[in-house]
Symmetry: C2
Subunit: 211 residues, 2 copies
DNA sequence: CAGTAGTCTTACTCGCGAGTAGGTACCAGG
DNA sequence: CCTGGTACCTACTCGCGAGTAAGACTACTG
């Protein structure tokens, strides 16, 4: 894009945002290793030393990206769900918020899930951390809804499975973008709440009419 | 490990297997990019040119690893499930076979899932292919079991979610190896067959007493 | 119109790792 | 005991990309 000439002078905070945006873009397209600092700086419309001056090393930059996007996503979800409602409704709102976020932030999602989960580096920490928060959230939801999951371990593993199902379905969705977010969310809701057993018998889950 | 001296002369086929084993090991520990051909050759107890002579470039090697491990796994699963049983029993056998395989082939699983899924390179093809086969399998299982999933797209997305749940739960399991495979498999079975809704009410799924 | 603090650049160094050139040891069969 | 073929090696080339040195341009502040 930007090819020649000196970049216009901008305050540090603004530049940092530009750089982060560029980094998320490039990382999501190329992955951590294939992405080069040269390309990021070019996309950001800036020279490499600036990048290093502001955001540190490549690893730091990547970790920062993950942290930022993870936070954005967790906030989007937290905003969508009200904690004093019925468990199924909470789950439903959470799922909708999640798929809504992914749908409107594909790049963020790629960085978060497809890229970060693999590299065993220092970023895995950030990612594992966020994922852990998500899992705990769901696990709490489960535990709170009475009897079923006896042990803590059981609740956690079920939550992990659910989160994984969500992630995987989101990935699938990237390849089938024609489906609207609500439909995909509803499908997962049915799967995890009703189960195949009920679905096979034609029993489906419906959101309470209001909302 | 092996430090000096010329390696004993071995027939090509044997060496190739050794190299593949070493490659799977190293790739699973380090990931595609961080793994170096030098290290693989060292672990294999062989020199680099041999590696290139037998298995081609790094990308080819990796793709070959994925293909081999994917085949092993699909076979393990196919062996475990008998196609003329009730859907829930089929699913149950499939899950057990899957978790059994992962439990006994952690390295393979890492290469398959954690590594390959990320890098957008030529390997993604192999992986996507295998995943596609798994998804189709489950989707067929779903469709066959009557009414519920009306459209092909719906069955496929549910299958994707289920496969993802399995993958994710397998990953979780890697960090909680104290749980036996059967327990983890049963948990997922309950989740996807009964659903949280039933679980919360204390309804659980039991395998038919025989097997 | 200095001085100085912060923005921004060109033009390097330098190590690491993919891939190779050009052999050497070893085992057939003639 | 040569002659080839196949397993195997040491010792390189070479490009790419992370990270940096050294300075130049701009804009306030007094």
């Amino acid at each position: 894009m930007r090819t020649e000439g000196r970049a216009k002078r901008l305050p540090r905070a603004v530049r940092e945002r530009q750089i982060m945006d560029a980094a998320v873009d490039v990382f999501s397209r190329l992955g951590f290793y294939s992405a080069s600092m040269d390309e990021i700086s070019e996309v950001a419309g800036i020279s490499k030393p600036m990048l290093y001056a502001y955001l540190g090393s490549k690893e730091e930059l990547f970790a920062t990206c993950i942290r930022r996007e993870a936070t954005r996503m967790m906030e989007a979800i937290a905003t969508g769900v009200e904690p004093d409602q019925e468990p199924d409704v909470q789950l439903w709102s959470g799922l909708r918020a999640f798929f809504g976020f992914v749908g409107e932030n594909r790049a963020s999602w790629m960085v978060l899930h497809r890229q970060a989960s693999t590299q065993g580096g220092p970023f895995a920490i950030e990612l594992t951390d966020m994922r852990g928060r998500a899992v705990s959230l769901v696990a709490a939801l489960l535990t709170q809804s009475t009897k079923a999951p006896a042990t803590k371990l059981e609740a956690e593993s079920l939550a992990a499975a659910l989160v994984g199902a969500g992630e995987s379905l989101a990935d699938w969705w990237l390849d089938h973008p024609e489906e609207p977010a609500g439909v995909v969310a509803a499908r997962l809701m049915n799967l995890v709440w009703m189960g195949f057993g009920d679905l096979v018998d034609g029993n489906v889950w419906h959101p309470p009419s209001r909302r």
